[in-house]
Amino acid sequence: MSNLLELSDVSKQYGQNTIALSNINFSVKEGEFISVIGPSGAGKSTLLRCINRMIDATSGEIVFDGVDALELKKRDLRRLRTKIGMIFQHYNLVERLSVIENVLHGRLGYKSTLAGALGLYTQKEKEQAIHLLNMLGLEDQIFKRSDQLSGGQKQRVGIARALVQDPKMLLCDEPIASLDPNASKVIMDYLQNISRSMGITVLVNLHQVDVALKYSDRIIGVSQGEIVYDGSPAQMTQEQIHHIYGSEAGELIMDTEEEKNHAG
């Protein structure tokens, strides 16, 4: 399979001294499910946002689907963003609007300013939105106001909103950080399913190492703005995890859990 995304020597610097990312190099194949792990403040979110240029990288080259993203001007940038869906920790729904209205927001990038501003969507777009909501098990919630949903349901609306864009890639910024274990599993299962059945590339920021190990085809470990691990979950050792988090053996929560498992 060909490379959908290629980052070469991408750096991001805030002000004079703060380096958020330095010389990031990696490429993503079509349909891959990649987890990005690392401690808070390591630059995971910045990395994700550099790809769809919500944050502008200071230097380097980002090629998405054969287009150099850093060179794009306004209109072409909008077109690029329509091809990349994004999912957030806090769902970021417009709470006062209905579920389907929120999902249809994913189509705005394709519409003229006037049609988008007035919310005039085509029948086909609406059908697609309803189809996606059915797929995500939200058929009873379609016309509910978004603030009446649970966290897990809101995140599924977020996924539907990203999918209605017909994206080639999904960027997920800690999608399960605010959810309970049950809802987290549902969301991760949906993301894996989407990646496998629809062939959409998924790049997801995670805090839970065990989740990353379980779901990903590949794991990228980020520490202090640099990639310190890039490989399959199977090859990942305890030492490497500790290297990513800069911790000593026995200091992470998952270590103590493992000790318990060994003991029991």
Binding site: M86, L93, H105, G106, L108, G109, R161
Partner: protein, 281 residues
Amino acid sequence: MRMEDTNKSTVLTQSKPIKVKPLNKTAIVIRSTLFCLIALTILGFWTYDYKEVGLVEGILSTIANFTVMFTEPHFSHFTFTEGLYQVLITIGLALLTTLIGAVISLFLGLFASENLSSRKVSNGIKTIVAFIRAVPTVLWVLIFAVAAGLGSVAAVIGMTFHTVGYLIKAYSESFEELDEGVIEVLKASGANWWQIIWQAVLPSSITYLISWTFLRFEINFAVAVAMGAAAGAGGIGYDLFMASSFYLDLRELGTITVYILIFAILLEVVAIRVKRHLKTA
């Protein structure tokens, strides 16, 4: 762990009372300001020139005036329907100025909020608006009266002017309260500025916008009454002016006050209804 334990024990074994509010610079400034204000108030009452009016006597005759106003209201210089018509003119003045002001403020408010526009533009608008608000409405009406002449035209322009100053501040602060993430998500999906405004910003802040607008409408109703008296803008305010300083008719003053009171309460009820409807719908 051990370090924390020893720290905790030293705090607990201290015999001194533990202060929840430490006496820092802010606390000293606030307390001394309050003390000065209290001292000035007492001094003020102490040094009043009461002339020959006794406090008790003054209060009693005011009560007597109020009793006459509200227990014996009558119509002498206008009929019931004429009075109603005059109140409607005042309402019209308030409605017109609020409406024009709200439309202008909505657009300028978007540019005045920092998260939707640039810092430069936002600060520029906010500075101008702060200046407009610093000058009282009556003064703006009188300023515009130089060009337009005393009357309803000057009143409309002046009141709109001050309304715009007030609402831009209120609206832009409502927009700035908005969750940054909602804007981010639409931007990330390729939506442009106007689409984000209409699809996310306005739906999220509509309740705030409505309640600020209603609040301003109530203020404008009160100002419109005053403008009828002070700037010859017509309406019930002009009748109020005539009854109080030309005919010296306390009873008719009472009638007018009742008119204004009823309409003010009506406005309040409508405002509450609309807000409740918006919150649940």
